[in-house]
């Protein structure tokens, strides 16, 4: 009889037993719903929650009490999200930069200049390379009229940017220099194309040029998005 009378109590205990993992999972979902938090921020906050839970458990509190206190200590997630938004820790816009690199790669294989029989961009770059290396006799003379120093500066930036951004994207000091470099590239390439269009009305430019310009503008925007005020950045995904 005694065993039969305890059975409903045991069932009730099992039903009301606190599931710490499920509670953390719910909290994590709540955290994921905050628009201003990057995955790295969420991971960091979750680590904090788990540390705090462990701290309370060590003091003898049960799972439920530990979780509730830790959650309380962390504070309201909406307020934290708002604070993160104010910080505006965007160093660059990753999806935009990825698109830019993709378009850049395509542009290298599209016809670039009418003056040299609409060669693809990569062929133009290779043909002019000996001039830059100090061997003027080896290159294609038809390309010398183009101010390739400026263009190659931008090309170098396009090629080096994935490495710079992926490795140093969160290093504020290096990113500051990268922003200056991007600004310099924007000014020089802008000047180059403006000059080109004023004098030749863009007649020499093939579709490769326009696609290349698009990729360059996108990359610059992705890097310089850091300079936008927070209210203009709210739709940009943080990385």
């Amino acid at each position: 009889m005694a065993g039969r009378s305890q059975l409903p109590v045991q069932i009730m205990e099992n039903q009301t037993r606190f599931d710490l993992n499920a509670a953390v999972e719910n909290w994590r979902n709540e955290l994921a719903a905050q628009p201003n938090l990057a995955s790295d921020d969420r991971r960091e906050l979750e680590t904090h929650l788990r540390d705090a839970i462990a701290g309370f458990q060590q003091r003898g509190l049960n799972d439920k009490e530990s979780f509730q206190l830790a959650r309380e200590k962390i504070g309201q997630l909406q307020l934290i999200g708002k604070e993160f938004k104010k910080v505006g820790a965007i160093c660059w816009n990753k999806p935009m930069a990825l698109t830019a690199w993709g378009i850049f790669a395509v542009s290298l294989f599209l016809p670039a200049y009418a003056a040299i029989g609409m060669w693809p961009g990569y062929k133009c770059a290779l043909a002019i390379l000996p001039w830059h290396m100090g061997f003027p006799g080896k290159g294609d003379e038809r390309l010398v009229f183009i101010n390739f120093e400026l263009l190659n500066f931008a090309n170098l930036l396009m090629i080096a940017s994935p490495i710079l951004l992926c490795w140093f994207g969160r290093n504020a000091r290096l990113m500051r220099w990268f922003h200056y470099l991007t600004l310099a590239a924007v000014i020089s390439v802008g000047w180059f194309y403006l000059d080109e269009f004023i004098h030749n009305y863009g007649r020499d430019c093939g579709v490769g040029c326009y696609v290349w310009i698009l990729s360059f503008v996108l990359l610059c925007l992705s890097v310089l998005s850091r300079f936008l005020p927070p209210q203009n950045r709210k739709n940009l995904k943080r990385v």
Binding site: D40, D41, R43, E44, L45, T47, H48, R50, D51, A52, G55, K73, I74, G75, Q76, L77, L79, I80, E83, F84, K86, V87, G88, A89, R170, N171, A172, R173, R176
Partner: protein, 112 residues
């Protein structure tokens, strides 16, 4: 308990000073501040991270995910050389304010 404004103003020198003593992570920093202030400075734990990220954005601290002894990965923060310079300036300014008040209240000031 310190007022909200004073807590906010002192967060930068506090964090830089803690990290000048060695790398640390969010939970440990919170515990340290609580212990140092004897409960006078109460930060909402979650609010610490935007402050840390702001210092990182400004180049005063740097961060790195590392595996702790417990096997759990944590984001460790450490002070940069710019951070050390900023801390020096902060120290001078806080001591200047502190000493002015000490003179007014006739308490022995500290050397800057």
């Amino acid at each position: 308990m310190l007022t909200k404004d004073l807590v906010a103003a002192s967060s930068k020198p506090l964090l830089l000073s803690i990290l000048a003593g060695g790398e640390s992570y969010g939970y440990e920093i919170i515990q340290k501040v609580r212990e140092l202030s004897g409960g006078q400075i109460e930060w909402s734990d979650g609010m610490l991270y935007p402050v840390l990220h702001r210092l990182e954005r400004d180049g005063l601290i740097e961060s790195e995910w590392k595996e702790a002894d417990t096997g759990r990965e944590r984001k460790y923060y450490f002070i940069s050389s710019d951070g050390r310079k900023a801390l020096k300036t902060e120290r001078q300014q806080w001591l200047a304010a502190h000493n002015s008040l000490c003179k007014l209240w006739k308490i022995k000031p500290v050397s800057i």
